[in-house]
Symmetry: C2
Subunit: 621 residues, 2 copies
């Protein structure tokens, strides 16, 4: 632990309140140093957290957490909050196995009022907490901090629509940094720019009303017109923005790095008997020049060198990059290919496509529901939309995939990045459910490449040959150094390495990497099947498995609704009576941990499988 003169003595929000006001800027500087130090070592969300330092200090200065409850939207802006609420000493464990979560987590601290890893949830959750306080007669406040693109997600409007007027003890703070994860998109971003440029709002109101009261009414014909104008103008000033229309008292915009203004406006909001909406302008990456210059690069960052801002580990080729390059190649030949992202242009590898095919590239903001149905519309209009999305975020669009895409077969291609275990982001971001929820929808085809070459084949198959919507899922990171050489192989169907053994190992995607050492150890004792097309099963495949005396199915997916389950049902339906062993990732949430650790824990890695083989765990009567 580095020694900090001020931060070193902050063990709870009370200590923030006890500091002299003029020390707060120095505290903020220390917090920034600590944020940069730890994130440069652990990786994590840097730029958003640098932007909310003063805001968080002001919140804990004015409000009384945990009696007042603070709900962070897209919780990756909550690092300073963690530092100030008794977690300073564990802060260097953030995102590590067994360490602090990179997101709010109520099991971690009573100061984390609500979980938040996905966007646009804060107002709904805060409305529930605020309503509970109202019903309880508890006079404390609930403060939701939205921002970082949360306004591009539809759920926030459902929240605003229901919370405005109804929740008098609710304060919504919009952390407006002009960026979602990269740049904010859409009409609302422009709208914010418009109101952002106005002077401090409550000041304007006071001035205007003073001016109006002084305006003389000269002569009779003018009187009526002037009166009408005054009335109109009053209405325009007093209810002229979206948030006031939705029933909130609007305060702002406020400089989010000026502690005096922040404390002032928060105190004012705390006295209102109405829901308040505070518009705070912040600079993403504030205080670290490299992050201010390129906030997108420092949104979620790997370890980096503080002095130069350069990432310490060169990332190497990734599936995301391989996908982006292939899609560009395809788009050059085919003007009907479109690419859609929900605020993840860089994360999904679409930056080159965006630059080269601007009119066919659509960043819709953090709006997965719209993204899917928009793709369905493009498809119905004769185009070939490819939606690149993280597995965890695709969960948002389950109904749209079922209702808008699948019933009438408006064929789209889903490129599902971060499928499987995600590591440091933990529970809220695991990509473990896509196989289950996608196979529950009639008609969706699912492919899982293990190599870049397979990814390219899958993408072309999905765009051109697949008769239905095609989901291509791949993990974060790159391809394995070695893969088995299958004797029978079709890149989009399956590969079978048959030694005519009576045991068959089956897997797909990253989990199939374990087959290389396994095959070396087992030799002719086992056959190996790697699925690329997961579902529906390749024609005739299930029939071909009936003669095995035992089958070991290994997959990187939650257990219920997994491919192994579906295969067992189909085998059973065809009269299979051999032994069937299923290794999957269980039916519980998986905390932050390395992929390696989780694979070991659930016995998906080669060493565990070999150990269990030798221990006769896969015993067939």
């Amino acid at each position: 632990m580095v020694e900090y003169r001020l931060l070193g003595n902050i063990n709870s929000p009370a200590d923030v309140k006890a500091l002299p006001f003029e020390e707060l800027d120095a505290l903020c500087a220390e917090i920034r140093t600590e944020l940069i130090r730890v994130v440069s070592k652990n990786g994590g969300h840097l730029a958003s957290n640098l932007g909310t330092v003063e805001l968080t200090v002001a919140l804990h200065r004015v409000f009384d957490s945990p009696n007042d409850q603070i709900v962070w939207d897209v919780g990756h802006q909550s690092y300073t909050h963690k530092l100030l609420t008794g977690r300073r000493e564990q802060f260097s464990t953030i995102r590590l196995e067994g360490g602090l979560s990179g997101f709010p987590k109520s099991r971690e601290s009573e100061h984390d009022a609500f979980i938040a890893g996905h966007s646009s949830t804060s107002i709904s959750a805060a409305a529930g907490l605020a309503k509970a306080k109202q019903l309880n007669g508890d006079p404390h406040r609930v403060i939701a901090i939205a921002g970082d693109g949360a306004l591009t997600g539809g759920m926030i409007y459902e929240g605003l629509n229901n919370a405005g007027r109804a929740c008098k003890n609710l304060i919504v703070i919009l952390n407006d940094n002009k960026m979602s994860i990269s740049h904010n998109v859409g009409a609302l971003a422009r709208y914010l720019t418009l109101i952002r440029s106005k002077p401090r709002y409550f000041k304007l109101k006071d001035d205007t009303m003073a001016l109006l009261s002084k305006l003389p009414l000269v002569g009779n014909p003018l009187k009526k017109a002037a009166y009408w104008l005054k009335r109109k103008l009053k209405a325009a000033i007093y209810s002229s923005n979206l948030f006031e229309d939705l029933g909130f008292d609007y305060l702002g915009p406020i400089d989010g790095h000026d502690l005096t203004s922040l404390c002032d406006v928060l105190s004012r909001a705390a006295t209102l008997q109405k829901p308040a909406f505070i518009h705070v302008r912040t600079v993403k990456g504030k205080g670290y020049p490299y992050a201010e210059l390129d906030p997108a690069a420092f949104h979620g960052t790997p370890q980096f060198d503080v002095a130069t801002g350069n990432p310490e580990v060169e990332d190497g080729d990734s599936f995301s990059q391989a996908f982006g390059e292939e899609l560009c190649r395809m788009a050059q030949e085919d003007s009907h290919i479109c690419a859609v992202t929900a605020a993840m242009k860089y994360g999904t590898g679409l930056q080159m496509f965006a630059a080269s095919y601007r009119d066919r590239f659509f960043d819709v903001g953090i709006a997965e529901e719209h993204a899917v149905t928009f793709c369905a519309g493009l498809s119905a209009g004769g185009y070939r939309p490819v939606f690149a999305v993280y597995s965890s975020f695709l969960q948002r669009a389950y109904d749209q995939l079922l209702h808008d895409v699948s019933i009438e077969n408006n064929r789209i291609v889903l490129c599902i990045d971060r499928a499987g275990v995600v590591g440091a982001d933990g529970e809220t971001h695991q990509g473990l459910y896509d196989v289950s929820f996608l196979t529950s929808i009639p008609g969706i085809h699912i492919l899982a490449p293990s190599t870049f070459a397979e990814l390219r084949a899958c993408l072309r198959y999905g765009v051109y040959d697949c008769p239905r919507t095609c989901a291509v899922r791949y993990p974060k990171g790159g391809e394995p150094e070695r893969a088995l050489t299958y004797t029978q192989y079709d890149a989009t169907q399956f590969g079978l390495l048959s030694q005519r053994a009576d045991t068959l190992f089956i897997s797909y995607g990253r989990a199939a990497d374990a087959f290389v050492p396994l095959q070396e150890a087992l030799g002719k004792q086992a056959d190996f099947l790697k699925l690329v097309r997961l579902y529906p099963f390749p024609e005739g495949l299930v029939q071909r498995l009936l003669h095995y005396r035992r089958i070991v199915f290994v997959e990187e997916s939650a257990q219920n609704g997994s491919i192994g389950e579906h295969l067992l049902r189909e085998l059973n339906g065809l009269g299979y009576r051999g032994a069937f062993f299923h290794r999957a990732l269980g039916n519980e949430f998986l905390p932050q941990s390395s992929v390696k650790t989780i694979f070991q824990e659930y016995g998906l890695d080669a060493a565990s499988l070999l150990r269990d083989w030798e221990g006769d765990v896969f015993h067939a009567d």
Copy 2:
């Protein structure tokens, strides 16, 4: 077919265009007669369709479908559209087995540009279609008709945010009838009331600008103030509502039953080089006094008597009603119970709760995502929220159930109505996926009562005893006349009728009704198990099944991710080697049809099971 002087000759939109304008009101009257006649026989959505007669006639008068594409939001307002687009003669088959769908369906007609059974999808789909036209160089327009509460769903804002300014060939029509399915809720409804009361908007603009240009500037000190006022007012007039802020040209509000105004404003919108937003006021139920008086009752109606407006079939007690009554009883004893609905107060049986416990009742509009996360907030605040929702609509909240509810175990109770086959509403409304998507989420418990008594027990268990979020699912309609008497029985666990046979039939919910005749026919040849708690399996249950030589599992659910699949996996894991037969509803979409027909088709009914028993289909080697 009744004879209609005008409607009888309308076989395509061209025939609507060919009519003299002064005949259009008479055409509308004939359409209303036909709507009332057919819906009174088939049941269906009456009130919404009576409200959009003139609007639909005007659309086909001004635009050129299918070159111009019409996208209906919540497609139950599209009956007139079906009558005018070549489906007049089949119209009396609407919602019947093999007949016209009660929703737009592109496989049914080229005039149905996009499917719509769920709410708030129209702008996203239309944006995709419009973008495809832009890329194609096709000068035609895409018209989305939102309304009927679609504005309470967050997805519509994702659509508006992305479509405004970007889609110059898009026209959005807001069909504002002050109702969602019952009354519109939330701040936006109030906002609409505000702008609804203004005079015709484009007229106002012209007048105001004329007035402003005439306003004299008297003297120097006033000059600056007046100039400033003019500038402010101009901004207020020209960009003073949400829809203009989002980049649309706002036109309205228009009387939606005045054909002259409608054709006028549609023609005007068609010439704009900008996305247009037309605000149309309609009266839900227009032209049928009973429906105008009580539009909620005629939203979705069973068969009724045209002369009196009375439903022809008395509904009898339903699960919805039994749920509503029990929840009221519980709420009287326990002030921490809250009820939440997404615009389905009547459909889910919450009207009595709403009247009796107003401060603990929340109708959030068609906003299932918000509903779930709001419940999670109430739960985190110490309350006991019960969200009553149709199975099909809960699909919208998959991510919220996983992320906001389950990871941190913010325990809520889901009362899932219309679970299973829904009959006349067809593909878009089937409640066949909840078992699959809920079991894919770690920690959710699922119960399925077959009787009202079981429903009451399940509800109390869910609220008080279940350690996790509890989903209680039940079908539309009532309980069976007869149920098996089980020797071993726990209402929230399972019932087993054991005759010490070597065959076991297992089922749950409505499908278990088949066991009564089956048991009478089979006597001691089979045992019968009815699950009430579906998942996780009751402790020790799976062990107790291992000795059976064959198991026949019958369930009213899609196949992938079903309870039968999970049970087979668990049985297999414990070494079960008997025969396992699984009857479920397949992995395809099910069209409108009676519950009886679908049960027969998939062999879930007693007669099919008996036939297959006798035909030795359930042969155990």
